[in-house]
Amino acid sequence: MDTDSVFDLIPIFARASAVTVWIATTSIFFAFTIGLLFSIALFFKTPVLKSIVHAYVAFFRNTPSLIQAYFVFYGLPKVSVQFNSYTCSIIVLSLIGGAYMSKAIYSGIKAISTNQLEIARAMGLSKFNMVVHLIVPQALSISIAAITNNSIFLTKEVSAMKIILLPEIVYQAFAIIGLRTDLTIPVAVLTVASYLLILLPMSYLFSRLERKIRFAEFGG
């Protein structure tokens, strides 16, 4: 590595941060979608689907993401299914996040009073309308804090994808230190700085969203 000064490291970290942000936001989006659909399936106790969702959640919450990524990236090509490290990262993180989001949103749904849903039934409201107008808005506003935590967790979990050569922040940091041990301290500082630059604004945006949802949904 022909890096002469600490300043030459900055563009490397900027690019790596961009990779982390891109993989994280995409995975959060898919994880949220999976979580929403699966928690609704759990709520309606759809027989077969329910067992599948439980097994899925149990599997992804109780195995290390490192191993999951390793398997998808190096294992699946053995049966001729091959993804590049970007696609592979998004798949693995979306599935892990989906498991966590399912749990979070489902506990939000369970917190909705059953009396309320019963009176909706007595009004003749269809299941679809109950989901759209009553269940989803309330479940999200109840579980928004957990959704925030999961999103921050997923963003940090992008670093586990270094094992499948995703050029994200920690991967780059290790690569540089491997070649230039004298840069250990500036690299460590830049790594921490990169995460703070990503996660602090993200936390801020989520807390804004949280306040907004709570305000809109429950009248301040």
Binding site: Q116, M123, S126
Partner: protein, 250 residues
Amino acid sequence: MHLTIRNLKKSFHSNVVLDDINLDIKQGEVTVIMGRSGCGKSTLLRCMNGLEQIDAGEIYLHDTLITKRGSNDAHWVDIRKRIGMVSQSYDLFPHMNVLKNMILGPMKVEKRSKKEAVQDAVRLLERVGLSDKITAYPRELSGGQKQRVAICRALCMHPEIILFDEVTAALDPAMVREVLDVIRSLQNQGLTLIVVTHEMEFAEKVADQIVFMDNGKIVEISTPRQFFYSPQTVEARRFLNLPIDDAILK
């Protein structure tokens, strides 16, 4: 006859909750159902709009059998449009303001236009003295106000029958009055009201017939005057804390 119940039976597992219920409810009348806690009053109401599946017997709305075997929620939607329900716990949707609570059913179930639904809601709120609460959220309302909104929400659907299940049970006395006044005001509008309540004074003044239940059975159906002043059964006399004379015991 508006609502007719014939030989209705309902059990939860081995617990027989409704045992051979027969009841005729006339259009435009107020039927008050009374009885001890656990005697099956709520379950009876819940059978009328299909929230509980009955085990045997029939319920007719006018002459239409509404309790066909194996009928699903879709079948009940049409009936639920015609039979409103208000419960003890108000059950307003906490994430919606008063107006949205009221127009959800008309718009989504009856497919009426928003404009029409809003006009209706505004008119109803005015009638119960809550015009200034139209944009308030449920948690900003008192219990009595919540219950009046819940009644308006049921009225928005233009039901023919409204089931009231102990709607004043959770309210303190001052608020009981304001809610009962609203129910009384519905009496003269051709609405058929079926009211489960422990409010004796209200029952006496407003009811056309009193249905007294005990242990899953209807033991007495009578006029308020007869029920409160000369009840025919031991169970009713006990319930009303009246002396039980030997003549009846025989």
